[in-house]
Structures are given as C-alpha cells and as structure tokens.
C-alpha cells in the first residue's frame, strides 16, 4: 500500500474519530456533570443529603464503570438503534461512547466537586445563597480546573473507546486499522494509525494541561 493510497483513508478515519470523540464528549459532559454534582449533594452531610438517591445513583455509576466497553457496545445495539435509527456508522457510535464514558466522568466530577472547601459553601449560605446559587457560584467555578482535567482524561478514554468501536461497526481510525492494517496485513498502515492516535492523545493532553494551568494561575501569587 502506497502513501498516496493510505492518505485518503487516514484522513477520513481521523475525521470520523474526531467527530465521534467530539460529540460523545459533549454528551458525556452534559450527562456526567449533573450526575457527579448529584452524587456530592446527596452524600452524607451534603446539602441535599438523601441516602437512597445517593446509593441508587452510585450503584448505576458503578455498574456502568465495571462493564467492559466492548460488551456495553454490543448490549446497547437495540438502544442505539432506537435513538439513532441504526447502530452502524460514526453517528450511531456516539451513543455507546457517551453511555460508556458518563459514569467514569461522573466519578471524576464527584471527586473534583467534593474537594471544594466546605467553608466556601457555608460563606455563601450565610449570604443567603440558595443551592442552585451555591452550585453555580461556588462548586462549579472552584472545581473548574479539576473538571477540565477530568474532561481531558475523558476525551483520551473516548479516543481509546472510539478505536474499539471501530471493530463493531463504527468508523474512524480504529475501524481503518482493523480493516486494512489487521485483516490485510498492512503493517505500515497499522503503524501510521497508531502514530496518529498517539499524536491525538498527546495533543488533547497538552491542550487540557494548558487550560488547567491557565485556570489555576488565578489562585496563585505572581
């Protein structure tokens, strides 16, 4: 396989991967952020202490996290078909990717939000702040650097998941690597996809770290 033959395949694969990762990240953040906050609020000593809800959400999150992604991918086929109309292609893959990453992300958010000093919550309560105010003005802004770091980690996990999704009807670099690199014994092709994946992950990590540093600088002396 020549480089000119590889190029269009790799370009298409990269675009598909970026597409899947981008939208599944958006969906994961939309679902995982409230879940993570809910876990903190309903915890013992939390603002909305509610043990049954906390236990139930915690259990769902744990089950979601312990299922191997490849199994989740297959198990979700009926659900994906119901949502998207098909279970094949990059758009369909967004569903299992988001479902797989949400519990993981929710736990990271929980850890980040739990670290916020309770004194700050108390201060805002003493000003007459309501719970939505506390979430909006204290918990989220104070935990933002950690949440951004959590998003970075989640994007990287999703890059990995999306490659796996390639094996089960997805598109993207993973699928291309399986089809050409593995099934047609094109070792060079396989190597190049791996290099692209490494570059993607590195880029995501660097960008994420940069943003975290930018946000954290506010709190430091200059």
């Amino acid at each position: 396989m020549t480089w000119s033959q590889m190029q269009p395949l790799l370009a298409q694969g990269t675009l598909d991967t970026l597409y899947m990762v981008l939208w599944s990240t958006v969906a994961t953040v939309i679902c995982g952020l409230p879940l993570g906050i809910l876990l903190v609020l309903t915890d013992k000593g939390g603002l909305l202490q509610n043990t049954p809800v906390n236990k139930a959400v915690g259990a769902v999150v744990n089950i979601g996290r312990s299922l191997p992604f490849i199994i989740l991918l297959i198990a979700l086929i009926p659900f994906t078909t119901a949502v998207v109309g098909t279970f094949i292609g990059p758009t369909a893959m967004i569903v299992p990717l988001a479902v797989g990453a949400t519990p993981f992300f929710a736990r990271l958010v929980q850890t980040a939000v739990r670290e916020v000093d309770h004194g700050l919550v108390e201060a805002v309560q003493s000003m007459g702040g309501s719970i939505p105010t506390i979430i909006r003005k204290v918990l989220l802004p104070q935990a933002l650097p950690s949440i951004v770091a959590a998003v970075t980690t989640t994007v990287i996990v999703l890059v990995g998941y999306s490659a796996m999704a390639g094996a089960v009807g997805g598109e993207g670099l993973g699928s291309k690597a399986v089809t050409y690199g593995f099934q047609r014994f094109e070792t060079e092709f396989m190597l190049v996809t791996v290099v692209i994946l490494i570059a993607l992950v590195t880029a995501v990590q660097l960008i994420g770290d940069g943003v975290v540093r930018l946000l954290a600088r506010r709190g430091r002396t200059d």
Partner: protein
C-alpha cells in the same frame, strides 16, 4: 438585637448524642460588641452557627433584629426563601476567610450583591465603596492568593457588609492572624461598630480580643454560658472568672506578716487616687505587686494587687477604708496565691488556655 432562648444543639455521632449547646440564653444589645469566649469544644462555634441557622438548633429560639429565625426555618434540611433573605441581613466573617480563589477581590465582594439581585453597575459601585471602607480599594483586581492574611480578612469583612447588615457575626476572625494584624482587624471592627452602628457578636478563644474590642462578654463552658455581662459588670461580680482573666494580677507576698489584697476598680471610685489617700490617711507603706488597668470610656477600670505591712488583723481598718470608697477588696490567701479557688462546677481556675491556631 440578638436574643437566644434555651438554645440546645445535639449532634448524633455513632449512635451517641453529643450535646454542643445545653440551654444557651444570650442577649446582645443593639450597637455593642459582644464577645463569647471559651476553650475549643465549649460550643462557641455551634452557638454562632445557630445564630444565622447555618446549623439548626435542636430546640430553643433565635431572634435577630426582631425576626424569629427559628420560626422561618421551616422543615427539612434546606433553607427557605425567607430564611435566606434574613441571612443576607446578617454578615459573617470566618477564621479562614472563605474567599473564592477563582474570583478577584472585587468579585468576591460582589458575590452577596449578586445573590441580592443587584445590577452590574450598582454592584461594582457598591463593592468599590466597601473595599474603600476597609482600606483595600487599590487591590480590587487582585486574587485572594495574592493578599496577606490581614488583607484577606478585610475582604471578608467588606463582603460581610455588602448586604447592609445590622449584625455582624465573627467566627474566630482573628485566630489565624498574627498579633499585629489581629489588632488592626479588631480596630477595623471597632470602627465599623461605631461608624455604622453595627452590632457585633464575636467568638474567640483569645482573651486579648475580648479585652481590645468587647463591650460585653460571656464565658462558655461545656455548652453553657457560665458568666455574662458588660466588662464593668463582670468586674463588679465577686469571683468572676472572666474579670480575673481580663485583668489578671499576680504577685506573692514579699515576706511573712504581710497582707495581700486584690482591689477591683470600677465605677466612680476608679476616678479617685484612692491608694495614695489610703497611704496618707493611715501612714502606711503600700507596695503594688501587680496591676491590670484599662481605660474604658475615659474611666479607669481594672484590678490591682497591693501589699500592706502587718497581718490581716492589723489591717482591718485600711481594708474598711477601701471598701468605704466603693472598691471591691479581696484578701489573697497565701496558700492559694495567684490561682482562684476552683469553681463549684469543676471549671479550673485558670480556665482560658490559649489554643494554637488550627
């Protein structure tokens, strides 16, 4: 201004009940600085948190500025709209400042104004005004991490004043600060109290804080208030532990056959040169072993330990003279020199041990 009646707070810890407040009746008059002092674990923190209902008392009532907060509390864990409204009229400052590190100084002061729903332009005008009041107008754009401890607490005070409160609660506000900074923060509180007519309730474990700013004080021990009153009322109370701690005097007799007296000055007698009158009238030599005096409102108050020659029998007349002048005189027993007799409820005499900063 602040009245608590029969306040109790019971925590459940591993199936056991722990009583943090055991029937606290507190009365803080309008416009005064009231200090609650006690050791850690005495219940001070629970008390101040119960005043704005950050912690809900198990029983009893809290009335602040004519509003019964305990009645507003409603049921459940969450604070209803009315209670939140009432809280916004009570400022609070904290030991560890509790400023949001993600916001600038000015934005921190604007936070309570945002909660009150004030418009952007008005918020920034008001917040700069408040920062000016605490002497930090030039640091408006700094982040809390760039400030010293004293400056952070000034921001905390500016923030607490944002909602135009009539009451300020101070939870060990100076305990994380060095002595110099402590004095300047206390001076600020005192000025605000005078200029804005702000009623201040502060809790502390430092006697110096009470001495520097408080008009009245209460001593807490095991969830109860064991002594309470204005500084001169406390001085006038025989055997008052707070008075002894506020105006500590020490010193032992210089030899046998001496009479050691603790003389407490308060009220009118404090303005007259009683000691020199005593010396001249009875032609006796008086040694001053120790004294702790303060000028409050232009009057000298405090305590002095003096020594007269001869045993007590020989000094009955001079002691009588001092009492006639309206002074309170306690004869110090040689066997129990500086420390006071133990209290009946088991409080040790030297009750107020300095805590280290957490």
């Amino acid at each position: 201004m602040i009245t608590t009646t029969g306040l109790t707070k019971v925590y459940q810890s591993r199936g056991r009940d722990i009583s943090a407040l055991d029937g606290v009746d507190l009365h803080v008059r309008e416009g005064e600085v009231f200090g609650v002092i006690g050791r850690s674990g005495a219940g001070k923190s629970s008390l101040i948190r119960c005043v704005n209902l950050l912690e809900r008392p198990t029983s009893g009532s809290v009335v602040v500025d004519g509003t019964d907060l305990t009645a507003l509390a409603g049921r459940g864990h969450r604070a209803g709209r009315e209670l939140r409204r009432a809280r916004s009229r009570i400022g609070m400052v904290f030991q560890h400042f509790n400023l949001l590190s993600s916001r600038t100084v000015q934005d921190n002061v604007e936070l309570p104004l945002e909660i009150l729903g004030m418009s952007g332009a008005e918020r920034s005008r008001r917040s700069l005004e408040l920062l000016d009041l605490v002497g930090l107008a030039d640091r408006a754009r700094a982040y809390p991490a760039q400030l010293s401890g004293g400056q952070k607490q000034r921001v905390g005070i500016a923030r607490a004043l944002a909602g135009d409160p009539r009451v300020l609660l101070s939870d060990e506000a100076t305990s994380a600060l060095d002595p110099e900074t402590t004095r300047s923060v206390l001076r600020l509180l005192r000025d605000l109290n005078r200029e804005l007519g702000l009623t201040v309730l502060l809790i502390t474990h430092e006697m110096d804080v009470v001495k520097t700013v408080c008009d009245s004080a209460a001593l807490m021990h095991r969830g109860r208030i064991v002594e309470s009153g204005t500084v001169s009322e406390l001085l006038a109370t025989p055997g008052s532990e707070l008075a002894r701690e506020l105006f500590p005097v020490t010193g032992d007799a210089s030899g046998p056959d001496r009479t050691v007296l603790d003389v407490t000055f308060h009220g009118d007698a404090a303005t007259r040169p009683v000691i020199s009158q005593l010396s001249r009238t009875y032609n006796i030599d008086i040694s001053i072993l120790g004294a702790a005096m303060d000028t409050v409102g232009g009057r000298q108050i405090g305590r002095m330990r003096i020594e007269l020659p001869g045993d007590y029998e020989a000094n009955v007349v001079p002691v009588g003279f001092l009492r006639e002048q309206g002074l309170q005189v306690d004869v110090v027993d040689d066997d129990a020199p500086a420390a006071a007799p133990p209290r009946s409820d088991g409080t040790p005499g030297a009750a107020l041990v300095k805590e280290t900063v957490k």
